[in-house]
């Protein structure tokens, strides 16, 4: 399974997270990124939030104003079979950064503005399997750039491989 980093996004807290060209990633997350409510966002097991460009485009085709970064993801990825990106899998981001998917992200009301009817539950894995953002921990820090490859770490298999 291989994809590409479409966009990298940061904010001092809240959404939307805004695009940057490259980022330094540590166990704490992406340099320059922060959270409004650190008790429910951030931390080692929620260091990065990832979401699928194709899923964003699907939501847009349904009339929703979502865009890369508006749902608070740090890394907008393209080309991955998103319903196969599940907790436990490890991915290389670019040539340096190794991450492990830890959990699906629980959507909160700050996502309302991404949906024309405010129904942010569309991002819920429980309500809409395969449509959720995911959290990841950083196993190996480094630098990542827009356009770099994302690849499933060798030897691992996705759910339907």
């Amino acid at each position: 399974m291989e994809g590409r980093i479409f966009q990298l996004n940061v904010s001092p807290g809240g959404v939307p997270k805004l695009p940057i060209r490259e980022a330094i990633v540590t166990a704490s997350g992406m340099a320059g990124d922060d959270h409004n409510f650190p008790d429910i966002h951030g931390g080692p097991d929620r260091a990065l939030c990832l979401f699928s460009l194709e899923q964003i485009l699907q939501f847009q085709s349904e009339g929703h104003p979502i865009f890369p970064g508006s749902a608070g993801e740090n890394v907008t990825v393209s080309g991955l079979n998103w319903n196969q990106v599940v907790p436990g899998l490890q991915f290389m981001l670019g040539e340096e950064v190794l991450i492990e998917i830890t959990r699906y992200t629980t959507p909160c009301n700050s996502m309302e503005s991404s949906f024309s009817d405010g129904n942010y539950a569309r991002l819920s894995q429980k309500a809409n399997p395969g449509c959720s953002r995911v959290y990841a921990r950083v196993l190996r820090p480094g630098k990542i750039l827009v356009g770099e490859r994302i690849r499933l770490l060798s030897g691992q298999k996705g759910p339907s491989d």
Partner: protein, 80 residues
């Protein structure tokens, strides 16, 4: 030149390089055939920057553009 001007992508048929051309504060995508000849402008945005662009598996070209915020614009007739 800004940091966003450095993105370059091959077309899916590897015959063309797509790049961001930044003029007067406005970004557009241009295509340069590798066999030579003039580059061709493939978007005609009147404002804003292009933050990213790439091809989807179905051949659609997608660009993320805007000012402070971004917005994905789907360009789906380029590779047809």
């Amino acid at each position: 030149m800004g940091q966003w001007d450095t993105l370059v992508r091959w077309s899916p048929d590897s015959r063309t390089l797509i790049y961001i051309n930044h003029q007067a504060g406005i970004d557009n995508l241009w295509a340069q055939p590798v066999v030579g000849g003039p580059a061709k402008q493939i978007t005609n945005f009147k404002e804003g920057r292009i933050f990213s662009f790439d091809w989807l598996r179905n051949g659609d070209l997608v660009a993320s553009r805007g000012d402070q915020n971004s917005d994905v614009v789907l360009i789906n007739d380029l590779a047809r």
